[in-house]
Symmetry: C2
Subunit: 356 residues, 2 copies
């Protein structure tokens, strides 16, 4: 008797013995491969479930070369945007039976190390979804040469699966809204100027801002652009700098809701009210934006993660396939931080505040 049932996990051999077939047949049967008699298959799967048998992942990976594991790479895990993307990715993984590893690469150096030394990834994962991680064509090639499929959110590379919003349009939506309200001095709180992560995203949003102004017949003014680094503190400082200008803006467009939150803090500190003294619009529709009444351009972040993950799975199935980029929709959500500019008293030149 091969009865080694002393607390050890059942192996494929145990199942084979119990079902009176060979291990090969068990393997085929359980993986749904053809050439197994229905009756045999039924018996095997019955025995297998009774024994709580599951193929040892390591053994299966070693033999088959596929890991059924992907990794999702993000700049940080804790922010609203990235954690929401990860949630979307994980949901699809759970559904498809993939393991979902997370990796945070805080700096461009870390990210490049990961993407250059792709042999770290080889045979370890089937694919990777890159969330706003800059990747060169060479790096993408290096990945696929090592059998690692790749899907991106944000910047596109090659013909890999990709999902992104139209950042130019998103920004235009925001700034057009401001212009329609009557604003002319519209500031921009941008991502980073030095782009440490080399995002395309801030560039495109900047373009949307510029396009909108141009279309509105408003000249660009460098004094109305401040970097906010996509964080609350950055937004706060940027807004402070903007308000300290000789002629401050009546409205500001922040490239992300979190930066807009920071801007809101500055406004409060100065006893200014958003939507009355200064208008403010962001991008994202962060969970908390509705609490703050922030006007913003909504994007569907979890869905983007899910779509990117499905794309990755498709790429894993057919590594040579070409993929079209998927455009995720955006929409303006008007709340209370935007309104027409405060009425000036142009002819007299007397400022409201001096009237008292």
């Amino acid at each position: 008797m091969t009865q080694r049932s002393n607390r050890t996990r059942a192996t494929i051999e145990d199942v084979a013995n119990a079902a009176n077939v060979s291990v090969a047949t068990v393997s085929r049967a359980l993986r749904g491969l053809p050439n197994v008699a229905p009756s045999t298959r039924a018996r095997i799967s019955e025995v297998a479930t009774a024994m709580h048998y599951r193929a040892d992942p390591a053994a299966a990976r070693l033999a088959a070369g596929r890991t059924r594991t992907i990794v999702v790479v993000v700049p940080h895990l804790a922010g609203w945007y990235f954690s929401t993307v990860v949630a979307g990715v994980e949901a699809v993984c759970a559904e498809t039976g993939y393991d979902c590893i997370v990796m945070a690469v805080g700096t461009i150096e870390e990210s490049n190390r990961l993407l250059d030394e792709t042999y770290h990834l080889e045979r370890r994962i089937d694919g990777v979804v890159l969330v706003n991680i800059p990747i060169s064509e060479a790096q993408a090639r290096s990945l696929s040469e090592r059998g690692v499929s790749c899907s991106t959110i944000g910047v596109r590379v090659g013909h890999q699966p990709n999902v992104s919003i139209d950042d130019v349009t998103a920004a235009r939506l925001a700034v057009d809204h401001l212009i329609q309200l009557g604003h002319r001095r519209i500031a921009l709180i941008s991502g980073q100027v030095e782009d440490p992560m080399n995002f395309e995203v801030p560039k495109m949003r900047h373009r949307g801002y510029a396009d909108a102004l141009e279309a509105g017949g408003i000249g660009l003014d460098d004094a109305l652009v401040e970097a906010g680094n996509f964080g609350i503190d950055g937004g706060r400082e940027a807004m402070a700098a903007l308000l300290d200008r000789p002629s401050p803006p009546t409205a500001v467009f922040a490239m992300s809701d979190e930066m807009a939150f920071g801007a809101l803090m500055t406004l409060q500190e100065r006893d200014l009210t958003a939507g009355r003294d200064v208008s403010l619009v962001g991008i994202d529709d962060h969970d908390v934006s509705r609490v703050l009444g922030l006007t913003t351009v909504r994007q569907h972040v979890a869905e983007q993660g899910a779509l990117a993950c499905r794309g990755l799975m498709a790429a894993i199935e057919s590594p040579t396939a070409q993929f079209e980029t998927i455009r995720s929709p955006v929409e303006l959500v008007v709340r209370s931080t935007t309104s027409p500019p405060p009425v000036a008293i142009p002819s007299t030149g007397v400022q409201t505040s001096r009237l008292s």
Copy 2:
């Protein structure tokens, strides 16, 4: 010549040949095991790096039985609290070279399925960190019988590594603050009444609330307790219900910042100002709390994740070890949503609002 360098990843054998040693020696050398001559070790690691050699994880796992992979289980991935915990866990994994799989179990059923059918986990991961996931002694035993170590955040089980805050104290901190300001009608926005996830956490925080009131000589009033389900919408509805009471509270303690955010929305909708008309305090110190000026009890969430992960790693090293629970500190952060109760005009019985 065993020159099979045609795009195939280098194996341990390739390294062995190149370094003129046996595979066993390569294995020892590269893993820092003893009994390798320093010179040999140096040569091997040189050759190995030159060849970009990395042990195939699947093969290593199969042979050694250890996966160097853990999973972190959370109710959802996208919330502030959980994503911040995951960030802490991931950071430690990155540092120690573990792969960090994430799993979201939205319901108690899912979570129990995972913990009951532990054979799913066996040989797949070395350990699991459970973030506010209820686990029974039996489930914990079942895990360890299958060689899966376990570390928890929140509820403790057995002598597994655990980190948690003192929830009773956290709640007391919040409510004592309110009492010291002079409030007597202090409401509670609780987690869930039916506890679908069976958290200890809301129970303990409820106790802290009750303790504080008792210590302040204030009687409990069931009409001042509403469930908010730990979400923004829940908090919003709870606050609305509270304000609709015949005699509404002058202050409310929400068990989490997100519920407090929802409460804030309700206040705004009714043109009430937090910190003037009603005082409000939460627990967490969510990223956005400072933007809203929310008084809260801060906890250090990422650190909790990191500590729990280190605990897990220790448990993996020595599976039979007993661990003391780690208490993560909390602190009251006073901002602008709390202040003394609005002055009543008790003797006349005339309400302030009628004076106009």
